[in-house]
């Protein structure tokens, strides 16, 4: 006993190196915020570049920590392992791309403010804490740093009534989700007396578990699953997704739809696989229900949308369904395919919103699917890019979206859920309709608007690379799949 007490108070500064990416990012946020205060309005670009550099260095620091094995620091509340490092690098790269696309949009809609970038950085910090959290407390705090920054980011377009309403909706539903998650956490804490994930795992897999203890564990588990499903936007906890996607400024929607999903998946892995992995039989059933509902609702309701952001919101919901299906299989390869799916989803989602942002002009907010009419005449190159993205999202080979769906379904069939795989494929075919609808309006519909697409060089370059990657990664899926599998 005295030994553990000593360990608790022992603080070895050499272990701080494993939290270096977080420490660096936090310090740079403070510095950038200070610098921004003293910048004149015409020099706000400097804040943007500093933020990009800060994210880039954080990515390098995270990358350099890959391969150090499992390191648990800060009295067991913070973990560094390959999963954390790889997830962090993926989040950083995605954030850099998101910020590159956002710049033009923010400029033409008068949202180019220092706060915007500081809030994005804070959200990233929260996600890093979520990915590395190894106790219920750190996971909750990371989640709240992320959520509080996102509420503010959405409402940053202060004069847009829709954005403020979206912010309020996300706020109310996000607060309820946190409350439910916390209630579940309090139950788990109450039954095993520790907040640490490793001690929870030890307790939950114990053979001497009484049936009443098992009952309370399951009770807490249900609340935690609901909380995670809320954050991921799985049906039936998806009500906020379409409204928030539609109301937010498109650059925020792009951020919201991509990077936080990686962090939410990481939180799911920490809580449900590493912590409550021995209850896998129980949460698998819940996940199957969530997954099938999400795939179904996401595919069917998206058919009726005329707003591209709403349509992509429902498409997100159906992608989340596939990710949950991968986790529901309960095998290591299944988890790996789900991780692979979330990375490819982020790649596609960022690219899709990037093209939507490209259609924005001064004083014109591109939101409708009909805005894509005649894009092949206005800009053949970007019409081709959108074609690749949409075909990939629909799951057509040889694009990356096909392989991510394929790996998931393969694992689902291997685990003996053949009916689930059939249902998922049927809905995937239905969802192809609305992706193809966009391709149709790009190539076959005439438009009054024939002005060519104007955007900055860096956006065009990054967007092209992004779309080509969807094709290129699709040619070598096994290499990337092995990386996704290596995190477990």
């Amino acid at each position: 006993m005295s030994n553990t007490a000593q360990n608790l108070f022992q603080f070895d500064t050499s272990t701080l190196v494993f939290a270096l990416p977080e420490i660096f990012l936090l310090s740079s946020i403070v510095v950038i915020l200070l610098i921004d205060v003293f910048l004149k309005k015409s020099f706000k670009n400097i804040t943007y570049y500093l933020s990009q550099i800060a994210i880039f260095i954080t990515a390098l620091l995270s990358y350099s920590l890959i391969g150090n094995g499992e390191q648990i620091i800060f009295s067991g509340s913070f973990i560094h392992d390959d999963l954390a490092a790889i997830f962090k690098v993926a989040m950083m790269v995605a954030s850099i791309v998101v910020l590159v696309y956002s710049r033009t949009y923010l400029n033409i809609h008068n949202l180019f403010k220092g706060e915007y970038f500081v809030l994005v950085l804070l959200a990233i910090l929260g996600m890093m804490v979520m990915v590395s959290g190894y106790s219920l407390l750190t996971l909750y705090l990371g989640l709240e740093i992320l959520s509080l920054s996102l509420y503010t980011l959405i409402a940053i377009a202060r004069s847009r009534a829709n954005a403020v309403e979206a912010g309020l909706k996300y706020f109310v539903l996000g607060a309820i989700a946190s409350g439910l998650l916390l209630y579940g956490m309090s139950m788990i804490y109450g039954i095993n007396g520790s907040l640490n994930i490793s001690e929870i795992a030890q307790f939950a897999s114990g053979a001497s578990l009484q049936s009443s203890q098992q009952l309370i564990l399951n009770f807490g588990l249900v609340f935690i699953v609901i909380g995670v499903a809320f954050k991921l936007g799985a049906v039936p906890f998806h009500n906020w997704v379409p409204d928030v996607y539609q109301g937010s400024p498109t650059s925020v929607t792009m951020f919201l739809s991509s990077v936080p999903k990686i962090a939410a998946v990481a939180m799911l892995i920490r809580l449900l696989i590493e912590g409550l992995g021995s209850l896998q039989d129980y949460w698998s059933d819940l996940f199957i229900a969530l997954a099938i509902l999400s795939i179904g609702v996401g595919s069917l309701v998206a058919l009726m949308q005329s707003n591209i952001k709403r349509m992509l919101a429902y498409s997100t919901i159906s992608h989340i369904g596939f990710i949950l299906l991968g986790f529901a299989t309960g095998t290591m390869t299944g988890y790996g395919s789900a991780v692979f799916y979330v990375f490819t989803y982020v790649l596609m989602s960022i690219a899709a919103f990037g093209v939507v942002i490209l259609l924005n002009n001064k004083g014109f907010e591109s939101e409708l699917i009909s805005d894509f009419k005649g894009l092949s005449k206005r800009s053949p190159w970007f019409a081709l890019m959108m074609l690749i993205i949409m075909l990939s999202m629909a799951g057509i080979p040889p694009f990356i979206g096909f392989y991510s769906k394929f790996f998931i379904l393969q694992q689902v069939v291997n685990s003996g859920f053949i009916e689930l795989a059939i249902i998922a494929v049927i809905f995937a075919v239905i969802s192809a309709y609305y992706y193809l609808q966009i391709i149709k309006s790009m190539y076959f519909d005439e438009s009054d608007n024939t002005s060519p697409i104007s955007s900055s060089m860096d956006t065009q370059l990054v967007l092209s690379i992004n779309a080509v990657l969807i094709l290129a990664v699709g040619l070598f899926p096994n290499y990337w799949m092995n990386i996704a599998l290596s995190v477990f």
Binding site: L141, A161, A175, L182, Y183, S186, G190, G193, P242, M304
Partner: protein
Amino acid sequence: MISLSDYLILSSIIFCIGLVGIFINRKNIITLLMCVELILAAVNTNFIAFSHFLGNEAGQIFVFFILTVAAAEVAIGLAILTLMFRNRGSIDIDITSSLKG
């Protein structure tokens, strides 16, 4: 002597009042914020009760953090609410809801 289960029953009642309040009340956003606070109060009661009966302080530390986060959350919520009032001239949910589809 008040037992652990008494505290748990109390907290679950508070939790249910908060949750039901959110779903019944479709009018006022301030009431929604109050209901969210009730849910967090229920969670805090749970943590403190468990912490006391287990003789483990971690739960009480957790409560400090929940209180801090709740304060920050309400500050942001009320700020968004003020923006809403400025844009729409009302904080009624029925009138203010324009995102549909």
